[in-house]
């Protein structure tokens, strides 16, 4: 094997390794995370309504200009759960949970979620504690089990016409990213057992349609 071939093969093998290491490590070292991109917004523990993407502007260029967006950042989800409550009007809206790197982990829209929007973001340890306590919040909220410490909740609402924008921005601004969590136990359901010997009346059979 000639010297050039040996160098070439070693370089190729090394290049493959470097390529794979960069691709696999990039999400961990990349500083362009969407969490940090929201540093300028007052979005810690409350919803900040983002400015609409403007023409020829890099900021927020990734957002649909026909949607209005609100972002709430949460941190230390491993220490305490976060409850989101929002009363949203009869437009297309959606809510989603992102990790720091902008991966969409959970989403609902106005048809898949019951109104009002009520999400409980909870880590695995807190979830089992709440389940042991039979906390009332588990009955009220949609439980989102997340194995992350920090992330973002994003609300989107459809802006059919620019004149609707102020009302929709106010609607998203009123969403609560720090709603109280009711940990009181749910009372045991009262089970009524019919007295022995008494057969519950059956509903008469429905006559077959002609």
């Amino acid at each position: 094997m000639s010297r050039a071939v040996r160098i070439g093969l070693a370089a190729l093998l090394g290049a493959v390794i470097v390529h794979l290491v960069v691709i696999l490590l990039f999400p961990a070292i990349g500083s362009n995370d969407v969490w940090s991109a929201m540093d300028g917004e007052d979005a810690n523990g409350r919803f900040a309504v983002l400015a609409q993407p403007a023409p020829a502007t890099a900021e927020r260029a990734y957002l649909d200009p026909m949607m209005v967006h609100a972002v709430c950042r949460f941190d230390h989800l491993d220490e305490a759960p976060v409850r989101i409550v929002a009363v949203l009007e009869d437009v297309f809206w959606s809510a989603s949970v992102f990790d720091r790197r902008g991966r969409n982990l959970f989403s609902v829209n106005d048809r898949t979620a019951a109104a009002p929007l009520d999400l409980l973001l909870v880590g695995p340890a807190d979830l089992s504690a709440l389940q042991r306590e039979a906390a009332a919040v588990l009955e009220q909220s949609v439980v989102v089990d997340l194995a992350i410490d920090s992330g973002l909740v994003v609300l989107r609402a459809f802006v059919a016409d620019p004149t609707m924008l102020p009302a929709l921005r106010a609607m998203l601004a009123s969403a609560d990213c720090n709603a109280p969590i009711d940990r009181t136990p749910v009372p045991e359901p009262i089970v009524v057992t019919p007295p022995a010997g008494e057969v519950p009346a059956e509903t008469p059979p429905v006559p077959a349609p002609a």
């Binding site: 370089a11 290049a15 470097v18 691709i23 020829a56 502007t57 959606s94």
Partner: protein, 190 residues
């Protein structure tokens, strides 16, 4: 000395080649595996946290809040239906029928991926303000000069179209077998 020099040369080439190929893969958004419908490339792979490594790396390189499963699916097109790169000096006609979504929007971006700047301040249409033909089909003209009907004015360099389908069965794998996203036909060029 020679083996050490050879090793150093191999390492230098390996690092350069590895970094360059990784940069290319990340910049091209690693379209491998992304669903394409004609000129439209789906921005998938990031939903529900089930991203492949290339999509994850690309997501880390670009700030984005991608649509989730319950929200919808975004598609980007930088070529026309015949595969020619979109050019803001040309006129284009987007033609389509009803799309499998509760709501959809289409917007024009410039070559840098920024929302298209134009005096009217209108960068696109949505499924509820679009003028349609009696049979439900629609056409959108993309041109620098005024056009009758649905017109998206464009200017400057480069052109990228982004189609976002909201609340669509595509995200749950229930894609209609005859899914056809709008065609992009090139007209006259300046």
């Amino acid at each position: 000395m020679r083996p050490i020099r050879d090793l150093a040369l191999a390492v230098v080439i390996a690092v350069a080649l590895g970094l360059a190929s990784a940069a290319v893969a990340i910049n091209q958004r690693a379209n491998a595996g992304a669903a394409t419908f004609g000129p439209w490339v789906a921005r998938t792979g990031e939903a529900a946290g089930q991203a492949d490594p290339y999509a994850r790396a690309a997501a880390a390189a670009t700030i984005d809040l991608p649509l989730g499963t319950a929200e919808g699916l975004a598609f980007a097109a930088d070529t026309d239906s015949r595969g020619r790169r979109l050019d803001s000096r040309c006129t284009y006609t987007i033609a389509g029928r009803s799309l499998p979504a509760r709501l959809w929007t289409i917007n024009a971006y410039d070559g840098a991926g920024l929302l298209m700047a134009n005096p009217s301040g209108r960068s696109g249409f949505h499924s509820r303000n679009l003028v349609r033909a009696a049979d439900g089909s629609f056409t959108i003209a993309i041109a620098a000069s005024p056009q009758p009907g649905n017109w998206i004015p464009i200017a400057g360099d480069g052109l990228l179209l982004v189609l976002r389908l909201y609340d669509t069965p595509l995200t749950t794998g229930l894609a209609p077998t005859d899914l056809s996203l709008p065609s992009i036909e090139r007209g006259a060029c300046r």
